[in-house]
Assembly symmetry: none
């Protein structure tokens, strides 16, 4: 008697998940709502009951993903004050979530320019706060570790180098075929921590020809 019906929320979730997969596969602009209709088994017009436009659909995916990512992080960091552990948790949360939600995170990383107007503003606001949180962890870290010698790495550079390392994985990491996540987390933290806090690198710069950079056919 207890009919097994799918609720509105379940269906919306299915749609978001399917759409994320389609967007991840073909890219947002190349993907058509018809693709999503086909992949989800819901009629083209039926989809519009759940979102108002393709752009809103992208926003919903990004917003949901980001929301969960951040909310998970918050509960992890809640009781922790040691900067090293906080960084570790940050990286671990980011990578685990990324690997568990590869499609969504690819969409989040790759389609940041695809939103416009208010949607874009909102997602960017979330990104800014997430970046700020990362920045403050790095600053605590530097404050805690006094031994730094030589010119320190600019924090902004460090933050985005870290995000680059982490976000780039959708371009190469294949779960099951690459190393397990645990090892990736350890490796990334290790790499970044030693790099960020480690002693000065022997001077090498200034000796390269440089000038206006590499000549190329593009420069004419």
């Amino acid at each position: 008697m207890a009919a097994e019906r799918t609720s509105y929320d379940e269906k919306l979730t299915l749609i978001l998940k399917t759409a994320a997969a389609v967007f991840a596969e073909k890219g947002y602009h190349r993907a058509s709502i018809r693709d999503i209709s086909r992949a989800s088994g819901i009629s083209l017009s039926g989809l519009y009951y759940y979102f108002e436009s393709k752009e809103e659909l992208l926003y919903l995916i990004q917003d949901h993903s980001f929301g969960t990512l951040v909310s998970n992080l918050k509960s992890l960091l809640a009781g922790e004050s040691d900067p090293r552990r906080r960084l570790y948790l940050f990286v671990e949360n980011h990578l685990r979530f990324f690997v568990s939600n590869m499609k969504e995170m690819k969409v989040l990383s790759h389609e940041s320019d695809s939103l416009e107007g208010e949607y874009r503003r909102r997602v960017n606001e979330r990104k800014r706060r997430y970046t700020d949180l990362c920045t403050s962890i790095l600053e605590e870290l530097r404050a805690a570790e006094s031994g730094a010698s030589g010119d320190p790495i600019p924090t902004r550079l460090a933050v985005f180098a870290l995000f680059g390392m982490l976000n780039w994985i959708y371009n190469w990491y294949r779960p099951g075929r690459d190393i397990p996540i645990d090892e990736m987390v350890d490796g990334m933290v290790h790499l970044f921590l030693n790099g960020y806090l480690g002693g000065a690198v022997p001077a090498l710069s200034g000796e390269w020809s440089g000038g206006e950079g590499t000549p190329s056919i593009w420069r004419r």
Copy 2:
């Protein structure tokens, strides 16, 4: 009498440069040939004298960029055998070229999935060789520096972490408003070298709850 006509090559170069800018601005799929016609001042059908399809145009841009990037690198590395210096030169070449040709490199980094078939194969082949070169530098580096203790960072992870750091810059680096390239190069090399070669990070892992990762609305 000697009319100042623009040659075929000059015009092709103009088209590639313009198209790269348009693709960088709107993304490959969102950009239309009409956009490129408008931006270049060449008629829609006139463009087709210089390429056979939109996809070939993308290929030409990526192939040209990559070709120059690699050729520059080759001549820089030519006389150098010290692994540290070789890494430095690799990073410097990559970043300088990237910043000098931001549009093209964004297209190269961002639109790797937009090519198909033979075009894709060819660009991927170039990427593989470039990656291999980077890999071998990192291996030389590790071989040269004996002091490494503890579990070393997997080379594959290190390579892609490095590429992530470098390629991500199109998402944040604004020439003129951010630090000069020299400092960015120093910072990136410093960060990566210390990270890659530095001593083991105090064990932190294994203590996180994890399991299948963070619960999320996506996982239901």
Copy 3:
């Protein structure tokens, strides 16, 4: 205990009034049932309890309006036999009703082609009878006034000129900002009566170049 429920009729009336306003505002074809749902506060599917199709809804509006217009007119003309007064009452009824029910009358005037089949037939039948009534008033009028000199104005032309004068008001008349209805009624009756019954206009025609009419780019 006596719940103050709105009856079926009240709700239907609300719907017709709301729909008339929406149709008047956006035009029948441009307006959507969703617009009416929004404007009336009744759910999209809930509306279909009161009519079977959008076209029937339009029919109901036109039929109701016309019915009331004619029924009012009938009771006004009931005891009156003087042709001038009968015309006056005709015009007054038409204009007053029009101004009091601007939305509905705009729909009636403007959307006469939007009905098809049986619906159209029925409304047209009502229009025909209404027109016939007007025609007969004009004929009585002419019969009563013997003084007409020269070629009389063809009745069919007079009838439709009158309807044009009257119906056009939805294009310009703004209650409150234009003259009061009374004056408009007087003015219209005056204009039409003098025109219809007045002496011949000095011959002016036949002197215009004309031929097939005005040359225009359309005629090529």
Copy 4:
């Protein structure tokens, strides 16, 4: 040898004429670009070479029609200063043009609300000027004819009554089956001139029950 090719302008003219017919037949909103494609024999996308949007197409039709209507009028009125003759020419031009370009004029009269924004503004501006011209003719007329007695008909009312008479014809006039244009022109001028200039109509007003107008189901 002399190829019989149709020029751009000829094709545009064909499209405007065809589109006017389709819009007149089905109404602007109900008509689809596909209908116009079918009717003109030009492919759907091919049409967009000649206009940028359906709305621009409507604008082009209205603007062209109005332009010709007014330009014809201007050259007719050029040498004429007698108010009566000026009115006659105004009406004759309007009606002849209307009948010769029934489709376009129906679109012009019936679809005045279908344009928005800048397009609407421009057409309305033309309409305003045309209306002003008519108004000034009526004023000259009244000034010239001193004999007017009693309260004169408000000019604004007279102008729009005249336009109503004239524009309404798309609702009833069938060339070939109705009276010839000449007679219609004479009739309309006669009707309006006598009405507008004629002596006062015997007082009839004020005796009707009225009040707030006719009670109706709509007024609740």
